[in-house]
Structures are given as structure tokens and as C-alpha cells.
């Protein structure tokens, strides 16, 4: 993974100093609350319902074991002993004291971590495929490009007071696991006829209050021009994005208002001035960054299909886990393993300090000392030897990470909701738990197959409910917490937004509602048809009828 040189380190350390001083000035009254607010937000610090929340950047989800240990220590020393993996691959602490934040940042800087631009109206952490570098369907490794974008976006002087937050995602694979079509900018690596690398560029996707799938405005941007083109898009947005209404300030509203073509023209006119300027990327720079992402020292191994099948037969639990929580690897003899952070009864994405230490340990012993956070709020050991898979499974079971539900109905994406977040309309964690409890029969869960169920506590859509096959949104109904259900969302290639089922439900009814939706699917599905495919075939009406049928 990328390792800071003295420049990167200096910038992060200067930030710690700067924020320490800003915090001091806030605490002694030199900075008002309104003046401090954007400053702390651009450093990931929210003032929440019960305490501040500090969001740590995990660039494109990648962490080294020593960084994981540092997070464990911070959870122990400054929080209540746990951390939360966010839906944007970051890590959040829910209970630090504001006075301690400068010290936490100094600790983070000692392992090349920071919280720069994890909130606020600026370019946020760039996200990507959690299987980057190991996926079989990969065209290029997106991580060097994410790092190049990270550096470009870090304290970009012109784009530090944007109309609204700005999220970039990069995909380098056949399947889109990074949900690029619902980002402000989505980049997809492509090769042209001459075999040269470039990016397909999408703008104007996003969830939140006005969810939209973005539009591709450039089918082939040669890689050299990536940053200048980003500059051009951001300049158009910075100048013309709406600032009069924060609910209309995202770039998607501007793209919609102008039309994607007219927006593209504006970008191209701007880009014409910037093209071939000093920000044009050089082969030397791309190589410098890419050197940090070369393959680890893989052994020459062979795939162990027969042996693993034999183990499957002997240990049905292993078979089940292997079928859900492992992903084929580009390298023979290796496999990627997903640690489920979704056992029933734990808030999705929460990990304790002890678990973090254990994960760091596993990373060192099984996976070249690295882990990845996924936007599904799980953690991945990307480079595990197949011959040690059974042994690893045993350890994961002990640690509570072996729930074999990755991709299944109970692998719920869920924002912190009303238990923590001051913006929430409703709690989300108890709803996730009620659904997990209702669907606790593993055989049944397996039979249902892949279903994305996403829960957000409010319109801000941190739980990505619009792109869940089943989406749940907390709403406020006369001061009561209610939940709106939507169906048919999808975040991969040709992303689709979910359709609202109808009037919202009380919290106590949610498990029943989901059960009815699932029952319709089970009755109507063709053999081996996934939930989302059945939904697309039969439409929303049968679900509506069942869920809203008068009770007899």
C-alpha cells in the first residue's frame, strides 16, 4: 500500500498543528461556533447527539495492520472501546472528547492516518472496489489512481469551499463494486482500440434527498489528463453549483439543470485551457505511486479445489461460510476472505478494540499485513492462502467474524441512525436487528440468496437505501419514528434507484413487512432467480398488494 514520503508526512503533521491551534482558539472563544464548524467538519469532527463523532479517512478502504492497531488503541483510550466501519470505507469513533481530538490526530499521523476532508463541503475520501488488486475481473488496479486523486484533492486550494460535499469513486474491474454511478464523479478504467488506458467519466450521481444515477460525459479520457479534467469539472461546479439552497447544492442538481451535454460542454471548454498544462500526469509519477501497489510476495501455489470440497463435505459450516464469505483470487492458491461485521445483535459495522487488535493480528499472519474496509461495512483479508483457509475459519469463528451471511439478507448496510446521529429521523440499528432476528434460520437465508438490504436513518442516505434491493428509510411522522420501504435498487453497473412501496410503517411492524416482501419473492420466483430479478420481472404491485392487504 502507499507509504508516505517526507512530503506526505509533513502535510499531515502540519494539519495536526493547524487543527490543534484551531481547537485551542475555539475553546478560548477566539473562534465562534459558526466559524469553527466548517473547520472541524473538514477534519471529520461532528458534534453529535451525545458526543462528538470523529471520522477517520481510510483512503480507498486500505489499512495496514499497524494502522488497525492504532485504531484499536484509540478506541480503547479515547472512545468506549469500539469503532464503526462506515459505508464509505472510513472508520468512525462515536465518543471522543473534543479536547482530545488534536491528540488523537497526532496519534493517527504517527501511522500515516488522518481525518482530512472526511466531512464538510469539499472532496471526500475517494472510494473503490474492496477487491482492488486481487479481483479476477480486474482490468487495472484502481488504487494508484485513487492515491493520485487523494493527493490532488488534499487541501486543493481552489476547491476547499465547494457548494456541497463531493465524492469520487473509481472502478477498475468488469463488475462495479464501487457503485460509481451514484457518485458525484465516477471513473471507470477503459482501454481504447490502441490499447491505451483511459477513464470513462460520469458526473452527477448521488443519493441523499434527490437520488440520481449519474451521466457519462466522457467515454475516453486519456489517463494523462485525469487531474486536469477533474480540475475542469470541479471548477465548473465550484462556480456554478447552487449555493442558495443546501438541498440543491450537489453537482447532480447542476448537471440536471444544464443537461448532461451542456454540462459536458462547459467542462470541455474549461479543460481546453488546462489540457497539457503542468497538472498533466507523468509516467514517472504514475509509476512512483503504482510501485506501492505491486503484488505482495505471493508463493507459487495451486488452487486446492478438491481439498476444499472435501473439507466442505466434512464440515457443512465451513462449506456454508466458504460459499458466502470468500471471493476468488486472481492468483492461484489464494482467496479473499470477508469478515462479516453483521452478526445478529451487533450494530452493523461495529468492531471492538479487541477485535481490531485480533484483525491486525490475522492480517499479519494470513494476509501480508493488510486489510480493506468495504462499503458494505465488512472487513476483508484479501490475500489468504487456500491451504490455510480452514485454519483461518476456525479463528474467525472464535472471534465472531464467521457469520456466513456476506451478500445475504442479514448482511445489512446500516447507518448509525438515531442512536448516534443528530440528523436522524429514526433509529436504524434496532430495525436491522429485528430483521436479523426474524431471519435467523441460516438454511432459509441461504435459500433466499443474495439480497441487499440497506437502511438509512434519514434522507441523507448514508445507509444507501436507494440502491438496496430492499431499502429502508427512517422518516418522521408527526414526531414518531416511521420507516418507508422501497424496492428494486441496485448499485452496480447500470445502477438503478429503488421505487417507494407506499406509506411508511411503525418500527414494530418492520420485520413483518420484510417477511411479507420475502414471501412474495419466494412464491413468485423461478428456479434460482435472485430477488432483484424476480422484482424486475413482476414489478412492485404484487409486493404492494401483500404488504398493504387488510389484515383479517
Amino acid at each position: 500500500m502507499y507509504v508516505y514520503d517526507e512530503y506526505d508526512q509533513r502535510i499531515v503533521e502540519d494539519r495536526v498543528k493547524q487543527f490543534r491551534d484551531q481547537t485551542r482558539r475555539y475553546l478560548n472563544g477566539e473562534l465562534s461556533g459558526d466559524e469553527f464548524r466548517p473547520l472541524r467538519l473538514q477534519n471529520g469532527l461532528y458534534i453529535q447527539r451525545y458526543a462528538p463523532m470523529l471520522r477517520i479517512a481510510v483512503p480507498y478502504g486500505l489499512l495496514a495492520s499497524r494502522q488497525v492497531r492504532k485504531l484499536a488503541q484509540i478506541a480503547r483510550d479515547y472512545d468506549k472501546g469500539y469503532a464503526h466501519i462506515s459505508t464509505r470505507q472510513n472508520v468512525q469513533f462515536n465518543w471522543p472528547d473534543l479536547e482530545d481530538v488534536p491528540e488523537i490526530l497526532a496519534e493517527l499521523a504517527s501511522v500515516q492516518l488522518h481525518s482530512i476532508q472526511t466531512s464538510g463541503n469539499c472532496v471526500r475520501n475517494t472510494t473503490t472496489d474492496q477487491f482492488a488488486g486481487v479481483a479476477r475481473d480486474e482490468l487495472i488496479d484502481p488504487r494508484p489512481w485513487c492515491e493520485i486523486i487523494r493527493q490532488w484533492s488534499t487541501f486543493h486550494p481552489e476547491f476547499c469551499q465547494l457548494p456541497r460535499k463531493f465524492k469520487i469513486a473509481v472502478n477498475g474491474a468488469g463488475n462495479d463494486r464501487a457503485a460509481i454511478e451514484v457518485h458525484d464523479i465516477g471513473l471507470e478504467a477503459v482501454h481504447n482500440a490502441a490499447g491505451e488506458l483511459g477513464f470513462r467519466v460520469l458526473v452527477g450521481g448521488g443519493l441523499g434527498r434527490t437520488p440520481m444515477v449519474g451521466s457519462f460525459i466522457n467515454e475516453f479520457l486519456p489517463w494523462q489528463h485525469l487531474l486536469s479534467y477533474l480540475d475542469a469539472i470541479l471548477r465548473v461546479y465550484n462556480r456554478y453549483g447552487r449555493r442558495d439552497n443546501k438541498f440543491k447544492a450537489r453537482i447532480k442538481i447542476l448537471v440536471k439543470a444544464l443537461g448532461a451535454e451542456a454540462f459536458a460542454e462547459k467542462v470541455n471548454a474549461e479543460f481546453a485551457h488546462l489540457k497539457d498544462g503542468p497538472t498533466t500526469l507523468t509516467e514517472a509519477e504514475v509509476e512512483r505511486v503504482a510501485r506501492h501497489f505491486v503484488d505482495p510476495a505471493y508463493l507459487a501455489l495451486v488452487d486446492l479445489d478438491d481439498e476444499l470440497s472435501r473439507l466442505d463435505n466434512e464440515h457443512p459450516g465451513f462449506a456454508r461460510w466458504r460459499s458466502r464469505n470468500t471471493t476468488p483470487h486472481k492468483k492461484a492458491g489464494y482467496v479473499a476472505v470477508t469478515l462479516s461485521l453483521k452478526p445478529t445483535g451487533t450494530a452493523p459495522g461495529d468492531v471492538s478494540d479487541k477485535q481490531l487488535d485480533a484483525i491486525a493480528d490475522l492480517a499479519d499472519r494470513y494476509s501480508f499485513g493488510e486489510v480493506r474496509n468495504s462499503h458494505f461495512q465488512n472487513i476483508i483479508l484479501a490475500d489468504v492462502e487456500q491451504r490455510r483457509l480452514f485454519e483461518l475459519w476456525g479463528e474467525l469463528r472464535e472471534l465472531g467474524f464467521a457469520t456466513p451471511n456476506v451478500g445475504l439478507l442479514t448482511d445489512i448496510i446500516c447507518c448509525p441512525g438515531g442512536d448516534f446521529c443528530s440528523l436522524a429521523n429514526a433509529k436504524s440499528i434496532p430495525v436491522a436487528e429485528a430483521i436479523q432476528r426474524r431471519f435467523d434460520d441460516l438454511d432459509y437465508l441461504f435459500d433466499l440468496g443474495e439480497i441487499d438490504l440497506n437502511i438509512s436513518g434519514c434522507m441523507n442516505a448514508c445507509g444507501h437505501h436507494h440502491v438496496g434491493h430492499i431499502g429502508i428509510l427512517g422518516v418522521d411522522k408527526k414526531g414518531q419514528e416511521f420507516y418507508q420501504v422501497s424496492l428494486g435498487g441496485h448499485s452496480g453497473r447500470d445502477a438503478r434507484l429503488a421505487q417507494i412501496l407506499g406509506p411508511s410503517f411503525a418500527q414494530d411492524d418492520m420485520a413483518d413487512v420484510i417477511e411479507k416482501i420475502i414471501a412474495v419473492y419466494v412464491e413468485q420466483r423461478h428456479a434460482d432467480e435472485l430477488f432483484i430479478d424476480t422484482y424486475q420481472r413482476i414489478g412492485i404491485d404484487p409486493f404492494k398488494e401483500r404488504v398493504y392487504a387488510a389484515n383479517h
Binding site: I11, Q18, E35, Q151, P157, F159, R243
Partner: protein, 165 residues
């Protein structure tokens, strides 16, 4: 008298900033003034005929393109921040310096605060009229917030990746 930061020094303000609704009647023949864009657009000849120094100021929604071919007439271009979180004029300053080659003073006015100065200077501002309740002396420290930067901008023609040892 208000004091402003100019090229990293604190100096006495000598320019008079005219309000948005100023009319030609408010203006004397001598003295240095900064006029709102609308007044310039309407009375450019009269303003050019004066003996005093001339500057123009743009509100956050006003576009530099409107005067891009008249920049030689202004000793000062002031860009207004109705709120420090309104970042539009960061782009304006950048364009003034890099695209339109403006070499005069580019001044930040309005809700101008210490913690934005580092970035403002990077994109091409060289003068800062801090909000009246803030101490410019304290604010000078912010120019040293960062020793190194990643991007090219008005202050630094090369991105770090072209300078990395």
C-alpha cells in the same frame, strides 16, 4: 483606519470601497476607489477620466469574464465573500492570475477570516481585508499553516509530483 494584509505585511488601508448601490455622484475626482461592478459597467468612461486610482469589486455571483478584457484599467480587483464558506471567488482569483494574467492587486473582502488565508493566497489573492472584528496580526500566522502543498496553483506553477525529489 482599517488595516489590511498586503503581501504578508499589515498596512493602512488607503482605498475607499464603494457600496453596491453607489452612484457616480458619490465619487470625487481624486482619491483611490474601488467601485462595484455595476457602476463600472455603466460609467466606465467617467471612471477612467478621473485622476484617482481605480479598482473594481465583484460580488460572489458576478463573473470575471465580464471584465476580462478590461483588466488593465484596474489597480485593484476586490472579490467579495458574503460568507467565508462561499468558495466561488477562489476560482475567480485563480483565473485572474493564470488565465487572464492579471498582475495588479487581488483583494479578498467581506467575510474574510484567518483560517482561509492560506488557500486564498495559493489561488492568487495578495491582499486581505479581514472582517472588522478580527486581528490581522494574528492572522499572519496562517500563511505558515503548511510547508508543502500537492497542487499547482497561482502561487506554485508545478504540482508536487513534478517537484518531488
Amino acid at each position: 483606519m482599517q488595516r489590511i494584509i498586503k503581501n504578508g505585511q499589515i498596512i493602512d488601508e488607503t482605498w475607499q470601497l464603494l457600496p453596491k448601490d453607489a452612484s457616480l455622484d458619490d465619487i470625487r475626482n481624486s482619491g483611490d476607489i474601488i467601485v462595484p461592478l455595476a457602476l463600472w459597467v455603466e460609467h466606465d468612461r467617467a471612471l477612467l477620466a478621473r485622476d484617482g486610482g481605480l479598482g473594481v469589486w465583484l460580488d460572489a455571483g458576478e463573473e470575471i469574464e465580464e471584465i476580462a478584457d478590461q483588466l488593465q484599467h484596474f489597480q485593484v480587483i476586490a472579490l467579495n465573500f458574503p460568507a467565508f464558506t462561499d468558495g466561488r471567488h477562489y476560482s475567480t482569483a485563480y483565473l485572474l492570475r493564470t488565465r487572464y494574467g492579471y498582475g495588479g492587486e487581488v483583494r479578498a473582502i467581506g467575510d474574510v477570516l484567518r483560517d482561509q488565508l492560506f488557500a486564498l493566497r495559493r489561488v492568487g489573492f495578495d491582499a486581505f481585508a479581514l472582517r472588522a472584528d478580527k486581528d490581522p496580526q494574528d492572522a499572519l500566522q496562517s500563511f505558515a499553516d503548511f510547508a508543502e502543498v500537492y497542487q499547482a496553483s497561482a502561487d506554485q506553477p508545478l504540482p508536487l509530483f513534478r517537484r518531488r525529489a
